[in-house]
């Protein structure tokens, strides 16, 4: 893990996982790869924390799991987005974007004397 990795904000991991699953059902390892790929390796997440997030999301019925077979004929637990999870992701994304743009706007405001 690179030393300059960004700590993931509490609760953000859930949304990231949901986003990963938006494309297609994946097993846990695929999700970590996906996050690495799309985060440019900048996210500091322990793999066990990812599984915690997956179980939590399952409990909230945002995702559902089923055992399936990988391309190499291995058994893996596949996670897919539920309708409820999809709606949650949509709402969270919107609120995150609004929050981020607000914070960005404030932080990047030109410094002027008033």
């Amino acid at each position: 893990m690179p030393d300059f990795a960004l700590p993931v904000l509490r609760g953000t991991l859930d949304v990231l996982v949901l986003r990963a699953l938006l494309a297609r059902p994946m097993h846990g390892y695929e999700i970590t790869s996906w996050l690495d790929r799309h985060g440019g390796g900048n996210l500091a997440v322990l793999d066990s924390a990812l599984y915690q997030a997956l179980y939590r999301l399952e409990k909230q019925r945002h995702i559902a799991a089923e055992w399936g077979t990988t391309d190499n004929k291995r058994q893996a637990r596949y996670y897919r987005l539920t309708t409820k999870g999809r709606a949650y992701l949509r709402a969270e994304t919107a609120s995150w974007l609004r929050y981020a743009s607000t914070v960005t706007a404030i932080l990047t405001a030109p410094v002027t004397a008033t």
Binding site: M1, Y29, D47, Y51, Y55, K59, Q75, A76, R77
Partner: protein
């Protein structure tokens, strides 16, 4: 590694198959972790890492393994818990949806089942509602009603049967009885409100000052009556009115407080209104409460504050914590003997008791707990019959669904799941039935209340939260109870194999189960009908019982003249005028005035009988009457003559005695011409001129007392109360009541309200007859319901069997069987069920007879006539139910029947 199930979960769900047992959670989590680490290692190895470094890196990225595993297992457990709950809920939802589809698919059957449930559960809900109102529900707004007792007394060794004492005793108990924290007294009376044309009457309760305090009840508006309102000898003229009275007479206007009401000859100020539903300690409440010491002249008891001989006050007390009721009652008796030694009930042979008010509920209304238990048991029998009927219908439907069930069993549906479905269906049906039962209870309860309890005022509908809760519980239990047998039967594994073989014969076993259910139903129906028969016979015998008075032909009119300050001379003049007017009313055949009438007050008198060699001092009941009194009542004169208008002040004194009195003192000899002295032997001799049959004094069931009757014209002033009676021979007596009231009301200006009522409506008479009326009508209604259900059940099973045996019938007819033989074959089925059911039912009825026996009047609880009649009705019904199936069997076309195979 896990195996995928052979059928996808969606398919399995659609067929309600088991979704497959999950592997242990621990194994799953471990598999998942292992898979993850292996993937990572493989990827790193592929990127050129050495095996050892790759493994170390994978573990590092995963996090501390042991700790993480524990946390993940915990999360998985929490997750599974929630998901299992959702799963169960979803399964239930699916079962319900599935059941709903099944139910809507067969609307006819559903209707039959729901109707049966509605009637069965409705009967129970109605019964519960009635019993709850009358017996179970504690009075509202009373604090800790379970610690309030009523003082009762009886002779040692016998039941406590008397409930009234007098004012001096009440005062002594209140001040000196150690076993109670407080003692209060009350007396119910009719209050004459206003005078003349606008005169009215209200039910009043004269109370002592601590009444409301003892109950712990508060006023909704204004204040309650307090001790300082009830000072002796004359209390404040204040009155508290009931919520109902306030709404009907004052339109619920808060300004009613402070208004005055003319009661008797005083103006009473309204000081408070009770909360809605407050009735004091009984079932039915008065219109108003007023201080006993202010009721004064309205009370029939003269000098009541000091008279310690009579008994008229009801006394309630609050138990003292830690004092057993028996000890408290003994102490009360000690106080009583000391305070009123002259009262008859303080004699040696009497004992006091402190009876919890809830134990006395209903006793005044003729709803004893024995009758109630019987009615409750009966409604449970109705429910059992309904259950048997529904079980039968469901079983029949289950058999028609054999194909579908066989498929599901073959697909591997477990028997438990299948039973869960079938039970869900029956519970769903029961819930629909339960809803309909609320309607049945609403209407049925209304009818029961209006016809059998129309003398009691009830607040709101019979169906309230308590009844609904009861119904809900009964409904669920019934649904499960009904579903179990068909579910067990239909889900039997061997059923499917039998089906696969294409066998036609599976019906045999099932129809035996169905026939058994029918036998049970028939047997229970017989029990109900038998009970109905016994009560109807009791009621009929009661109808022919001689009371000495025709209660449904005699109208009683009373008017509280002393309450408005009229003297006893005026009183007699007014009643004489009223008598003349009433006698002219169309429909009135005879009329009379008397000091008291049957089921009214009682007056005792001391008499002396001069015998050949001694004087006998005795007591007798006394009444003072005008000529035609006996004719008006319908009492038979057994010998001698009635009083005439010539028996007046100038004529020699005469009396009529009743049969009881005559036989007690003269045996079989005639007492006519004998002499009786009133009071002591210094008074003049009164000659007996007639003997009249025994007339009831205070209840329908009583041992007759010795009575003497004196002509009113010779006894003016000796008893001051007056009642008017009129006999109606033609037409509807109820229609004459108003005319009689009008005639009485206009006999003089400014009279108080005349209370006129048919004697049959007297609370005492009604309470006496109520157990039999209740028994006859409820048993009758439920018996008819039961027999109808049995008939439908028999029809259903027999016609189902005929359908099953179409081929057999066809063969028989083809082989030349007589049509009559074929019909006989079918009829026999119904007859066998009817006969076996009747026999078993007769057995149950004989066993149950000992519980019913004490509740009957002059009727053997094992009356063979009733039994035979009921059995005949049942068997005839069974035959009628078989007629249509028999007709169908006879009409079987052999060719079609054979071809259909």
């Amino acid at each position: 590694m896990a195996q995928r199930e052979s059928l996808p979960a969606r398919v399995r769900r659609a067929f309600r198959l088991d979704l497959g047992r999950r592997r242990s959670r621990e194994a799953e989590v471990d598999d998942e972790i292992r898979f993850h680490l292996e993937q990572r290692i493989e990827e790193l190895a592929a990127a050129g890492w050495t095996r050892e470094r790759a493994e170390a890196e994978a573990l590092a990225r995963f996090g501390p393994l042991q700790e993480s595993r524990t946390q993940l297992l915990e999360s998985a457990r929490a997750r599974d818990e929630v998901l299992t709950m959702f799963d169960r809920f979803e399964t239930l939802l699916q079962d319900v949806r599935f059941a709903a589809r099944q139910i809507t698919r067969a609307p006819g059957l559903t209707l039959a089942v729901v109707l049966t449930f509605a009637l069965g559960i409705g009967a129970n809900a109605t019964m519960f509602g009635v019993i709850d109102r009358l017996l179970l529900r504690p009075p509202r707004y009373v604090v800790h009603p379970e610690t309030i007792v009523q003082i009762a007394y009886g002779t040692a060794g016998k039941d406590l049967s008397q409930y009234t004492v007098n004012y001096p005793l009440f005062r002594a108990l209140r001040d000196r009885a150690q076993g109670f924290t407080d003692v209060t007294a009350s007396y119910a009376l009719q209050l004459p409100i206003g005078r003349g044309e606008s005169a009215q009457s209200a039910n009043g309760l004269a109370i002592t000052g601590n009444y409301f305090a003892l109950l712990g009840a508060k006023a909704m508006l204004g204040r309650v009556i307090r001790s300082d309102d009830c000072l002796e000898p004359v209390g404040n003229a204040v009155v508290v009115v009931s919520h109902d009275y306030w709404e009907t007479h004052f339109a619920g206007d808060a300004r009613a407080i402070g208004k005055t009401v003319d009661i008797g000859n005083r103006k009473f100020t309204i000081v408070g209104v009770t909360p809605p539903g407050f009735v004091g300690l009984g079932i039915d409440g008065p219109d108003m409460w007023l201080p006993m010491t202010a009721a004064g002249s309205m009370l029939d008891v003269r000098s009541y504050l000091t008279a310690g001989a009579g008994s008229w006050l009801v006394v309630h007390a609050r138990e003292r914590v830690g004092v057993p009721p028996e000890r408290a009652a003994e102490d009360a008796m000690r106080v009583a003997r000391d305070a009123v030694p002259q009262a008859w009930f303080t004699g040696k042979s009497w004992r006091f008791g402190a009876v919890p008010i809830m134990a006395l509920r209903g006793s005044g209304q003729g709803v004893s707990s024995a009758v109630t238990k019987l009615l409750g048991a009966m409604s449970i029998v109705v429910l059992l019959i309904a259950c048997a009927n529904v079980a039968n219908l469901l079983l029949a439907r289950g058999l028609r669904r054999r194909q579908e069930i066989a498929v599901r069993l073959a697909l591997g549906v477990t028997r438990e799941r299948l039973m869960a479905h079938l039970l869900t269906e029956s519970v769903l049906l029961a819930l629909l039935g339960g809803l309909a039962a609320m309607l049945v209870a609403y209407w049925g309860g209304g009818i029961v209340m209006r016809t059998l309890f129309n003398d009691l005022s009830f607040h709101g509908s019979l169906v309230d939260l308590r009844v609904m809760t009861f119904t809900a519980v009964v409904t669920i239990v019934t649904g499960l109870l009904t579903g179990v047998l068909p579910a067990l039967e239909v889900s039997r594994p061997e059923l499917s194999s039998a089906l696969k073989a294409g066998s036609q014969d599976v019906g045999g076993q099932r129809s035996r189960t169905r026939a058994t259910l029918l036998v049970v139903q028939t047997a229970l129906s017989l029990v109900l009908l038998f009970g109905a028969g016994l009560f109807v016979r009791s009621l009929a015998r009661l109808g022919t019982m001689r009371l000495g008075v025709d209660v449904d032909k005699v109208i009683v009119g009373s008017m509280n003249l002393p309450a408005v300050g009229r003297s006893s001379r005026e009183l007699d003049q007014i009643f004489q005028r009223a008598l003349e007017r009433v006698a002219q009313v169309p429909g009135v055949a005879a009329a009379a005035v008397a000091a008291t009438v049957p089921f009214g007050q009682s007056f005792g008198a001391s008499i002396t009988l001069p015998r050949r060699d001694s004087l006998v001092h005795a007591d007798a009941m006394l009444n003072i009457v005008t000529p035609d009194y006996f004719k008006t009542l319908g009492a038979h004169l057994l010998s001698g003559r009635d009083f005439t208008s010539h028996d007046d002040e100038g004529a020699p004194p005469v009396m009529i005695v009743n049969e009881m009195f005559a036989t007690r003192y003269w045996g079989s000899r005639s007492p006519i011409g004998e002499c009786v002295r009133g009071g002591n032997d210094s008074l003049p001799c009164v000659e007996i001129v007639g003997v009249v049959e025994n007339v009831r004094r205070q209840s329908i069931f009583e041992d007759s007392s010795g009575f003497i009757y004196l002509p009113m014209a010779q006894r003016r002033g000796s008893l001051t109360s007056r009642q008017l009676i009129a006999r109606v021979d033609r037409g509807n007596p109820a229609a004459v009541v108003e005319s009689v009231r009008l005639a009485m009301q206009t006999a003089a200006p400014q009279l108080p309200y005349a209370g006129v009522e048919l004697m049959a409506n007297d609370p005492t008479v009604r309470a006496g007859l109520r157990p039999f009326r209740l028994g006859a009508s409820m048993f009758g209604a439920f018996g008819i319901l039961a027999i109808a259900l049995a008939a439908v059940g028999i029809y259903g099973v027999v016609s189902y069997n005929v359908g099953q045996r179409t081929r057999e019938m066809g063969v028989r007819i083809a082989l030349g069987a007589q049509r009559a033989n074929v019909a006989g074959l079918v009829l026999r089925e119904g007859l066998v069920v009817g006969a076996i059911g009747t026999m078993i039912g007769a057995g149950i009825a004989m066993l149950g007879a000992k519980f019913v026996g004490p509740l009957l009047y002059d009727e053997a609880p094992r009356d063979p006539v009733v039994l035979l009649t009921v059995a005949a009705i049942l068997i005839a019904t069974a035959c009628v139910a078989c007629l249509v199936p028999a007709w169908r069997a006879v009409k079987t076309d052999p060719i079609t029947a054979l071809r259909s195979e």
